[in-house]
């Protein structure tokens, strides 16, 4: 497609080299340092040391906890997600469209803020619900202790089940209704069809969503940090945090962290590999042209009770925690009952206008989000162009490098960045915003590549060739055809990065310095320091920013499509 003369280091090669260089510096180098630190002791390769680290009680306990927690969340999240997906696509549940949107709301709420809210409600001594039952209903002991495995699993389930819900409801909606109709005409009733046809056909989507939950939960820092540390429940990311923060960079703790990180990377890679296999081999071609509405199961007498159940679920998982956050954020002192005379606006105005720590954190998050989104958007479009459109050798490697961070948990990226940019190699960015920026770029590059390659795949080669045949040079074709057509993909990539970056905790909590707290870090550390009220108030403000952002983008995107 591009006219090159022989033996010439032309544009494609240049772009290719640049892309590889960026990915090498941002992604590969830090990752290699982790493995190097884990396996390389005193100048030689050493496995026994690694095994020794793994045999320590705290290490294998954290590993076990990670497995138990993520396994538990995966099972419950998958059940909940599949059930709701089936309800909104295959039954005559009332208000299905609205219900579908409501079930997606948990995705907007950062899990660690949810955890914070549930801590306020169900911590054994101070939780409002527990206190209500003990003070007014005569219970002797708390009705539920959120500082437990069950508590953590419940809270994560609430905020992660949409992974399965989205995949499964999407598959059910796109599924050719005649697959089910042909079973009916074969003599099967709706219950049999659900069991023998529908569920097996969407099984790949269920599994793929389940593995996403597992991947996320395995690498998740916030909820376990908020609810687990109190009673000594650590998972791998929280233990890495503990090691890095509390032992002030001693060699042994860094090594322990790198070994943990290695285990995490391997597990995550295994999960992704499995997901890929399921998606590529198992995904059935179940989408087809002509569409009628699929037959709906009539819930009859159960219609209203099930609607109430769904609404109660949403009230309990979305409304209650959100209200709690805002209410606690308005309390004069944590622990006071919610009465009008105990409420004040002072907390909100204090953290917004007076307190440097919180004000800075909002500013840091927004500027970091903007900067990382811009950089990854542009880098992403160039790298995707090389991957999708150019005929250069080795682009498979590029693709692999680009998607690598997708399987690398945030705490691992942070750890790698610490190893690479703390002065060991001549550049010290420790305690600056730059180190966080680099980590964000590494973490979100895969998002940008996905969005941009998808947009570029839509730009069929013949569109460019038609421009060339019309008399356009390659540069003119890029300017007039390619760039205008991938712009929506670039915009999507920008927001796909900007919004999660705003609420990021896992990476920043390992990298922040005295003046470089992000919103997530500020909420988390205020909570740790017992400043519960301020923590809640800041969380409330974060929720407002995030939800406003999400809504604006939905508007923007759907408005574009309609035009």
């Amino acid at each position: 497609m591009i006219a090159t003369k022989r033996f010439n280091f032309g544009t494609p090669e240049l772009l290719f080299t640049l892309s590889v260089a960026v990915l090498l510096i941002v992604v590969v180098f830090p990752m290699l340092l982790i493995f190097f630190n884990a396996f390389w002791v005193d100048g030689h390769f050493n496995v026994t040391d690694v095994l020794r680290v793994l045999q320590r009680q705290e290490t294998y306990q954290a590993l076990g906890n990670s497995l138990v927690l993520s396994g538990g969340v995966t099972v419950t999240g998958t059940l909940v997600g599949t059930l709701f997906a089936w309800l909104v696509t295959r039954t005559d549940l009332p208000f299905k469209k609205t219900m579908k949107l409501l079930f997606l709301v948990p995705f907007m709420l950062p899990a660690f803020i949810g955890a914070l809210a549930w801590k306020m409600l169900l911590s054994p001594r101070a939780g409002y619900i527990n206190r209500f039952f003990m003070d007014y209903l005569g219970f002797d002991s708390p009705i539920f202790n959120i500082y437990s495995y069950a508590g953590i699993i419940l809270v994560e389930t609430m905020y992660l089940f949409p992974f399965v819900f989205i995949q499964v409801s999407g598959a059910l909606e796109r599924m050719d209704p005649t697959l089910e109709e042909s079973a009916r005409i074969s003599g099967a009733d709706l219950f049999t069809i659900t069991r023998k046809i529908t569920i097996p056909l969407v099984m790949p989507s269920i599994l793929s969503g389940a593995l996403l939950i597992m991947l996320y939960s395995m690498a998740h820092f916030g909820t376990v940090a908020v609810l687990g540390i109190e009673t000594g429940i650590y998972n791998i990311p929280t233990l890495i945090y503990e090691k890095i923060h509390q032992s002030a960079g001693s060699f042994d703790s860094i090594r322990t962290a790198t070994v943990l990180a290695t285990v995490l990377v391997i597990t995550a890679a295994a999960i992704l590999w499995l997901q890929n296999r399921i998606l590529s081999k198992g995904r059935y071609q179940i989408i087809a042209g002509k569409s009628f509405r699929p037959s709906e199961l009539k819930l009859r007498g159960l219609r209203i009770p099930i609607l109430i159940f769904c609404l109660a679920y949403i009230a309990l998982t979305i409304v209650l925690p959100t209200v709690t956050i805002f209410m606690v954020g308005g309390l004069k002192t944590y622990g006071l009952p919610f009465a009008l005379e105990n409420m004040t606006w002072a907390n909100y105005s204090h953290i917004l206008f007076e307190w440097d720590l919180t004000r800075d954190s909002i500013w840091n998050s927004i500027s970091l989000g903007l900067a990382s989104a811009l950089v990854t958007m542009f880098a992403g479009v160039i790298i995707s162009y090389v991957i999708v459109k150019m005929k250069v050798r080795g682009k498979g490697l590029l693709e692999f490098l680009g998607m690598l961070p997708f399987s690398v948990p945030g705490s691992v990226i942070a750890l790698g960045v610490i190893l690479a940019w703390s002065g060991k190699f001549g550049v010290s960015l420790y305690n600056t915003v730059w180190i966080i920026l680099i980590a964000y770029i590494a973490r979100y590059m895969a998002f940008s590549l996905k969005a941009n390659s998808a947009a570029l795949e839509q730009v069929h080669d013949s569109l460019v060739e038609a421009a060339r045949a019309s008399g356009a040079t390659m540069a003119q074709a890029l300017r007039d055809v390619v760039i205008p057509l991938v712009r929506p993909g670039m915009v999507a990539a920008f927001f796909l990065i900007f919004l999660p970056a705003l609420r990021e905790l896992t990476v920043s909590v390992l990298l922040y310095g005295p003046t470089t707290r992000t919103i997530g870090v500020a909420i988390y550390t205020l909570n740790e320091d017992g400043e519960t009220v301020y923590s809640a108030a800041l969380a409330g403000i974060a929720l407002i920013i995030i939800v406003t952002g999400e809504v604006l983008i939905k508007r923007l995107v759907t408005g574009k499509n309609a035009a």
């Binding site: 042909s182 074969s186 097996p200 002509k290």
Partner: protein, 352 residues
């Protein structure tokens, strides 16, 4: 007595009468095709027979049994109708093997093991799938998948087979092959077929009778030869095969089309009532227009395309272009030549 009877069957989608008081009788072992443009209500009718749609008026009977009735608000669920059905998009289950797809309806009916095995084998053998029994349907071509769907429908030994555009997702040359296979299977098993298609040649080749539909209303029911040879109205004429229509002013001695006069040859003048109206629409198939040296409707050959077996001419009569098709061995005029057109088998319809 008719085996399947649709009586005053009506379906409303909002204010639109998707199917309007449709009557149809189908005899045992007969194949009836419902033919019409997309959106004409043919698929909706089939889905009402299958039981996927309720009726807004009328009733459907099969054998002795009423299966759908608006008056009694009774609808036998599709799973109890014991019909075979084949869908356009195959609808074979990719998570089951070819064998299990075909055995599924039998397992649902909880038939004895040996019978399931025997019937599945029989259905697979009749559809030439026995060798592929263990394969996943995803490994088969479109034609192969549609055979699985057919075998699955055959396994229950239905009396009625409902086919919803079963061939339109197939490659053209498979389409013809499957057409013959369906016909063979029907001959062997003797079921009745209700067949939905928008492809007229498919309907012609397969069915004993054709029902032509437009905007929910039946236009004509008849054998393929009747529908082709004696179309009930202009719509049917146009829908079945190539056609050309010419508005003509009529006089007792001849007609005037686009300012060009032609005298009546014997026998082709329209019926007296149309003649009395003074104006009518002349309909003819391009293959049924002849070139004549003298007389006829005079025009000039404007285009000529050699298509292999046929040669396609366009003849300008006034400012109207008339299409004529002749076999390649019929000597025809060249471009620019003046010719006369004769209409040995004209159809006359009221002007639109």
């Amino acid at each position: 007595m008719a085996y399947i009877e649709l009586k005053q069957v009506t379906k409303l989608f909002g204010a639109v009468r998707a199917v309007d008081r449709l009557d149809l009788d189908i005899a045992q072992g007969e194949c009836v095709a419902m033919l019409g443009p997309s959106g004409c209500g043919k698929t909706t009718t089939l889905r009402m027979v299958a039981g996927f749609e309720d009726l807004d008026d009328g009733a459907i009977r099969v054998g002795e049994r009423i299966i759908s009735s608006k008056r009694d608000n009774f609808y036998l669920p599709p799973e109890h109708r014991n019909f075979g059905m084949v869908f356009q998009a195959f609808a074979v289950w990719p998570h089951l093997s070819v064998y299990e797809n075909v055995a599924f309806p039998l397992r649902i009916r909880k038939l004895p093991k040996e019978e399931i095995a025997a019937r599945t084998e029989e259905a697979l053998k009749h559809t030439n799938l026995w060798k592929a029994a263990g394969d996943s349907p995803d490994d088969l071509s479109g034609g192969g998948k549609q055979r699985v769907a057919l075998a699955r429908a055959l396994a229950i030994r239905p009396d009625v087979m409902l086919l919803d555009e079963p061939l339109s997702s197939l490659d053209p040359h498979f389409r013809e092959e499957m057409r013959f296979e369906i016909k063979d299977l029907q001959r062997r098993f003797g079921f009745s077929i209700l067949y939905v298609t928008h492809d007229q040649s498919e309907a012609m080749a397969l069915s004993d009778r054709i029902l032509v539909m437009r905007s929910g209303v039946v236009q004509q029911v008849g054998t393929p030869l009747e529908v082709y040879g004696e179309p009930a109205n202009r719509f049917v004429f146009e829908f079945i095969g190539l056609s050309c229509f010419l508005d003509a002013d009529l006089t007792p001695t001849g007609m005037r089309i686009n300012g060009v006069d032609a005298a009546w040859p014997a026998g082709i003048a329209p019926a007296p009532e149309l003649l009395a109206a003074g104006r009518a629409c002349l309909a003819a198939r391009p293959s049924e227009i002849d070139f004549v040296g003298e007389g006829g409707l005079r025009g000039i050959v404007s285009r000529k395309a050699y298509l292999g077996e046929t040669v396609d001419y366009r003849v300008m009569v006034g400012d109207a272009e008339i299409r004529v098709q002749k076999g390649r061995r019929v000597p025809g005029p060249g471009i620019g030549e003046a010719v006369g057109l004769a209409f040995p088998r004209p159809h006359w319809y009221p002007t639109a």
